[in-house]
Symmetry: C2
Subunit: 504 residues, 2 copies
């Protein structure tokens, strides 16, 4: 046997396991998260013998899902991968996968399931519900996946795998793959591997796209120089940060960010004005954004916490929205016109560095350090000071709650990455996602990974500190001990015992 035979992409045949892993390697995946279980052990052998992939070996499946999510957020354009076992493993990851769905993060969930023969004969195996419903977990998973595949036949397996991974990356949503114990080892042709997957979004229909471009240019011209950009979560998830920045630089339009879009535009960019959150924005930001003649929203995700509880004061008649798969101009929706393809063409139509746009003032996004000292560390004291600690290229992870709210007002250095879960808001998520973020940051040469998490949240997922040691990443962790679920005390039950926790 020649060496080339062992490299799936060199053609000939390979196992389904190796086919799947090679596809992941092609998309720059380096680490796979998960927990072993008897229905996935055969597959894990292939990961262990791969020279290009590492197995994280998480402490539990929820944490592993969080880690895959954090990895995918930092490693833009790639995806997070999670391997669990049938029933007991995969269902522990449900919340983590649902969070990735909600927040548009591409995560491939591979579940080791009973053999195709067992799936047909349906014996009362361990990890089953005891009633023969072998499709129950799939039915649950369908609620939280953009697409699913239950591999049943080696002839269709490679196409199914390709379809699933492509949808995962293109839509930036989780997908779910059932990998039976027998098919793992089946030999298939590896010919398809010679053609890399196309994970770019589809081309826009040229006729509609031109119409949309004309309409946008017309509105920008009508607004004269008074256009404001508002960048949000999906600009990051759908990988248009570069396109947005080029558009901003060419036009010099002022740029603001929604909370979930923080660091989509470098926060030290001189035309960047800070975070817009409806009525709870800083007054100067609110005034600038809401008084603009035209708002160009890019990758908007208008959830409650991301919009100051739905308090945007910008009429639709003055709004253009660019999304991954559609465009909205005032009241009109243009389905199928996605921003990844549209933005460069729009930039091309703009005059470079318009002086009149440059004349528009942008409030300086700063957070002065208050000088008064106090025995107690307050949020007012803390956040401006940690702002001075951050460096270029840091990854800053903020737990839902006081950490996430506190850090929004801190201007982050250029090239830094802000990671938070503002829509889904599952407490404990950051401990797992920091692990994934740190591995991704190590991969792509980012700087430090810095986590802010409270005493309440860390209790949910604390064991993943162990996997940080195992994988050798060394995030800096700020554990804010404020004696319980403080964000909930603000909402309800300030003195209720249910908001207390045991002080570790």
């Amino acid at each position: 046997m020649q060496v080339a035979d062992q490299i799936p992409s060199a053609g000939k045949t390979c196992t389904i396991a190796d086919y799947l892993l090679e596809r992941l390697v092609q998309l720059k995946v380096t680490e796979i998260f998960g927990v072993p279980g008897d229905f996935n052990l055969g597959f894990l052998d292939y990961i262990e013998s791969s020279s290009k992939l590492e197995w994280a070996g998480n402490c539990n499946e929820l944490n592993a899902a969080y880690a895959a999510d954090g990895y995918a957020r930092v490693k833009e354009g790639s995806l997070g991968v999670l391997v669990t076992t049938f029933g007991v493993g995969e269902l522990s990851a449900t919340n983590g996968i649902a969070g990735a769905f909600s927040e548009r993060v591409p995560v491939l969930h591979i579940v080791g399931v009973p053999s195709t023969a067992q799936q047909k004969s349906k014996p009362m195996l361990h990890h089953t519900l005891g009633d023969g419903r072998y499709d129950a977990y799939l039915k649950a998973a369908e609620q939280f996946a953009i697409s699913t595949a239950s591999l049943q036949d080696k002839s269709t397996a490679p196409a199914e795998i390709d379809r699933l991974i492509t949808e995962c990356v293109v839509t930036a949503r989780p997908v779910y793959l059932m990998l039976p114990t027998d098919l793992v080892h089946e030999q298939i042709s590896s010919k398809r591997l010679l053609t890399p997957l196309n994970v770019e979004p589809p081309e826009n229909d040229p006729e509609i796209e031109n119409f949309v471009l004309d309409e946008i240019v017309k509105l920008i011209e009508e607004a004269d120089r008074d256009v404001v950009l508002l960048v949000d979560a999906c600009a990051i998830r759908h990988n248009v940060k570069k396109e947005v920045f080029e558009f901003a630089e060419r036009t010099h339009f002022p740029v603001y960010s929604a909370p979930m879009g923080k660091t989509a535009i470098p926060e030290d960019y001189d035309r960047y004005g800070g975070i817009y959150v409806g009525t709870i924005s800083r007054p100067e930001i609110k005034e600038k954004v809401e008084s603009a003649k035209l708002l160009l929203s890019i990758g908007g995700l208008k959830s409650d916490f991301n919009t100051g509880n739905f308090t945007y004061q910008i009429p639709t008649t003055r709004t253009i929205e660019l999304h991954s798969d559609h465009t909205r101009i005032r009241f009109a929706a243009y389905h199928g016109i996605g921003m990844k393809r549209l933005l460069p063409k729009l930039t091309h139509r703009m005059q470079p560095f318009r002086e009149d746009a440059k004349a528009l003032t942008v409030p300086k996004f700063t957070l002065p350090v208050p000088q008064e000292d106090n025995e107690t560390i307050s949020h007012l004291w803390l956040w401006p000071r940690v702002g001075q600690f951050f460096k270029k290229g840091d990854v800053i992870v903020a737990e839902t709650g006081t950490s996430s709210f506190g850090i929004l007002d801190v201007p982050l250095p250029g090239g830094s990455v802000f990671v938070s879960q503002i829509l889904w808001g599952s407490i404990g998520w950051t401990v797992g996602s920091t692990l994934g973020a740190a591995i991704a940051a190590r991969d792509i040469g980012l700087n430090r990974v810095i986590l802010f998490v409270g005493d309440g949240s860390i209790q949910l997922t604390v064991q993943e500190l162990s996997t940080m040691m195992r994988t050798g990443v060394k995030p800096i962790i700020f554990l804010l001990n404020n004696s319980g679920y403080t964000i909930e005390r603000y909402l309800h039950g300030e003195k209720a015992r249910y908001n207390d926790i045991i002080n570790w």
Copy 2:
């Protein structure tokens, strides 16, 4: 206002929250498990102000679900109760609830959900999937609940609550209740509370039941004295331990237990012969069970690990099966004929203490302590010795894996309770379920709670040790450190790194 007005069961009106809690108190629930979240905080106020209910305040939702499961297993006839919040909370509990479904444990999962108005208008609230699908979590939950209710109207709420709790206990399966933030506080008539819920199984159809009794008696007579009882999981879950023991005592038929039925019959009972697990039974047990002229199986759950991988050598022509909701006599199924009602009538038809049955020998179930000493603690060394440590009324919890397999062969003292998850087999489950089991044991006056768990399994759920401290229970924990996922090494990947863990 008179004091009586504040006691829901005294009539007049009460809030929906108090109605629900009073129903739980009537069923002897004392502790509610869960994690606070903003959609359940209003409801938690009612738990906190109840003098009859305690809030456990778990470290995470999966552990809380495990605890509710462990509580229900030990507190037979009652149920476990779990409170989580919309999306992020409830979905973390999915594996725990599915395990309760699989293993037939009555757990009520109460989820604090957005208000009825929000469920109609479907804003992009935090904890949603961002696409308006407010029913997605319910659809997933339906896979793992015997019944669900989404409360939408105060007029139907009490009947819905009653229906759900009744189904939970009668079927010994989880149920799922969506409790909107606004309905929690709504006033309703408390009149129904004056009538306790009937959680006994329904009466059997007398004509069919008599026919079945005649058939069974006839087969027992034909088998002469040569009848063996095999007791399994559902005898415990459907609360017929007392009925089975009365039948055994009256007939003097030898009794054996499947692994999941361990301690359904006191293991020090002189007609009890030990654990039958198909071909992996002790030879004398295998011989006695398989050579009997008639096998009366009670509450059987024929999963792979519970049957020695489906190796029962007993022809159906020699088998009678009693189940919670049906009876099987050889090849005939009698739907609707449940064992709780049938067993006392069957006992009544038997002659007391038949001498001929007494003449049937039963192998003595013992586990001698080997005398050789060794530097290394082996399983052969350990289990006979821990057997000497157990006392009457202990609750013995064994994690899936070497603990569970090891302890099966240990005869447990009378009145002790064996808790394990042999069908579902989710590692880490015992840490949460020990918490629930210990609270239930304290309630009903059992003795010590003793947990056997491995180093691999405890990593999944370790934080729940904290809740043991919070709630003041003091289980004895044997942590078996065998350097990784040892049960998996036996199955596959003996030296694979994925079966290693970090040594804490």
